[in-house]
Amino acid sequence: MKLARTHTTVSVERALLRMAGLTGADAERIPWVNHLVDAVRDQVGIEHGVALPVWDALVRGEAPDLLTLAQLSASGSVTLRLPEGRDATRAAAAARRAAGAGVRTIDRRRAERDRLVKRLGDPPRRPWIYLIVATGDIYEDIPQAKAAARGGADVIAVIRSTGQSLLDYVPEGATREGYAGTYATQENFRLMRAALDEVGKELGRYIRLTNYASGLCMPEIATLAGLERLDMMLNDSMYGILFRDINPVRTFVDQRFSRQVHARAGIIINTGEDNYLTTADAVEAAHTVTVSQLMNEFFAKEAGLANWQLGLGHAFEINPDLPDSFRLELAHALLARELFPDAPLKWMPPTKHMTGDVFRGYLLDGFFNLAGALTGQSILLVGMMTEAVVTPFLSDRDLALQNVRYVMDAAGGLCEDFHPPRDGFIQTRARQVLAEAIDLLDRIVDDGMLNAIGDGTFGLMKRPADAGKGLAGVAKRAPGYVNPAIDLLEEGATR
């Protein structure tokens, strides 16, 4: 996507500083990376990238190190400029050295993961069992995550607090005050990673950790994920636009950078097609899932992600009262499976049609699990019977795992017997969805993708390209734009 190569954003620039090792925040918990990027923006503008002004200042001896520079910039006592000629070359080299250190840490983390997976082992079978914790308090999340791993979870996702996606900074430190989720912070990542490594050792199974590279700070969070060895990240090319009203250009730029980091870090992305089906009707909108998957695949490949890193999403969200609803689910799930044979598809449970009837919900989740087994899904996000009531209780998770275990052990092999005939209900439906997806793609090609998003094609949300949150943080790159993080990632270089 051309847009992404011709623009930068405050968050991409902050991500560079994070890669170069700048951490911490002021007393009001505003991160130093924000102060420094803001100072560059105010004094020079970010269209050339912050690399040159920042490392020029360091080379000039304005401060002994990045942190001090950022602290000084916060109090307005640093003068930044756009270096030229040899100054520019020197600043660029220094910046590249600094960023290289970060990239190498990410590489080390990736090697560490490979080692641990080799030593401890991958989950014994597909689908991987993916469970969420969402207490808002990292110190409650940790024991719950461990309990979940002991109960059979292969992947733990720490759900993020509401509102974080619209914060234009990444909070700092261990946090206990999230709403319906826990803040994504470097320290929380570290704490949970350590806890899961511990329990993984105990269980003899590498437990993967997931968070969200999404919202206004997607590039920075992706960077932190790489630095702290997270294994999967929610990362969708349109989610922020559609569901958080984030400006489309901001999103595409941030998106590309974060995906480059994920590619480098060996992180599997999880895309968010499930979300469309919570707002639009899962039968009528089935083809939008397919189209979005194709788009997510396209952008992901463009950013360097391999097939095995494409956790394309889809979901079991058809109204269960609809006749043949389960077979419709199978048709949709099979379609995704066949279109993306090498992608680790992520299969999301029913949420929209879950009600306070927890017994019915438990049954529905069982059939969701069965559909996952029958259609060979790769990552199974485990549904909770209390979906319509509360964020998951400890016991909900335990019961949910028991549900998965029963279905997989007792009926998982049923795929041997599952052969939808060519002209039967399932294959016919899958062909129909595919045809609708192709139609829609044709229309998008004709009208342009930003127009399609603007028109409410996905999840019924209309998002024009020149509106939305975070637009102020976008800048068209100037000639001579420098960002050594991007360079290193694109070149695959280490220094």
């Binding site: 808002g136 024991p143 461990k146 309990a147 002991r150 109960g151 607090s161 509401t162 509102g163 619209l166 709403y179 319906a180 569901f243 958080r244 009203d245 919570t278 707002t279 319509a388 509360v390 964020t391 209780f393 400890l394 016991s395 335990d398 019961l399």
Partner: protein
């Protein structure tokens, strides 16, 4: 009903049977089972049957208990908030606004705080509507400004003033740590502060976990819970804002 006192019904009138499940932060052993029975007893189950106990790791145990509760339910003591307004058709709503007011009613809607669940408020506002009823946008005499998700309270107050809103409708779906209560009270306080006494727009809060009788505590004029339909909301707006003939006669 034969009399105002009832008890839960398992399979025989008056048997009082209920089912309960919960987790205790105790390792699974006899003591934990005793603790579960103690809790069941405190909840009024007598006798309580502990039918399932399962260790969830070394520190927690999950229990399922059945039993007969000794409590009696006094149906006469139940106070049902009666709908204080008549349900009107779209036609009646439009008529009730048009003749006395001679202008459209202006409604501002938003999902406030960090809550981004717009499906509920959209169900009330958007033409598409809910449960077969068209949303408020469909009403000729209503003008709807839907601010969408994650609207901050100051922003909401400002828009309401700018638009000269007659009514402000806010939605809250996330309830963990009582987020919905905090956000709503903060919102109502901000309106009282920003407007001269008695001139604030009508404040309406809605969401699936609200208690409809909590208006006073929340500082709003009306609360709508799960399953609300647009028609109910429109009827309420007319009731509260459009002085109906009956009300005008002294």
């Amino acid at each position: 009903m034969s009399g105002a006192i009832v008890r839960p019904y398992g399979d025989t009138t008056g048997d009082g049977m209920v089912q309960v499940s919960f987790t205790l932060p105790l390792p699974h052993d006899k003591r934990a089972e005793g603790a579960a029975l103690q809790l069941a007893e405190k909840m009024g189950l007598a006798p309580a049957l502990l039918v399932h106990a399962k260790a969830m790791g070394p520190d927690f145990t999950f229990f399922v208990v059945y039993g007969s509760v000794t409590h009696l339910v006094d149906v006469d003591a139940v106070t049902v908030v009666p709908r204080e307004f008549p349900l009107l058709s779209a036609k009646e709503v439009n008529a009730a606004i048009k003749s006395p007011l001679r202008r459209k009613l202006l409604v501002v809607g938003a999902c406030i705080g960090t809550d981004a669940h717009t499906v509920g408020i959209d169900a009330i506002l958007n033409i598409k509507g809910f449960a077969g009823e068209k949303g408020l946008e469909y009403y000729r005499e209503l003008r709807v400004v839907n601010l969408g998700a994650q609207v901050l309270v100051p922003e909401l107050v400002e828009r309401a003033r700018a638009e000269r809103a007659d009514a402000v409708l806010v939605s809250q779906v996330v309830t963990q740590r009582d987020a919905h209560i905090h956000n709503t009270t903060q919102m109502s306080a901000a309106f009282r502060e920003a407007y001269p006494a008695g001139t604030a727009p009508l404040l309406v809060a809605g969401g699936p976990r609200f208690d409809e009788s909590a208006t006073a505590a929340l500082g709003v004029d009306r609360v709508f819970g799960k399953g609300t339909t647009p028609g109910e909301v429109a009827s309420f707006l007319v009731h509260a804002l459009a002085p109906l003939p009956a009300a005008r006669t002294p």
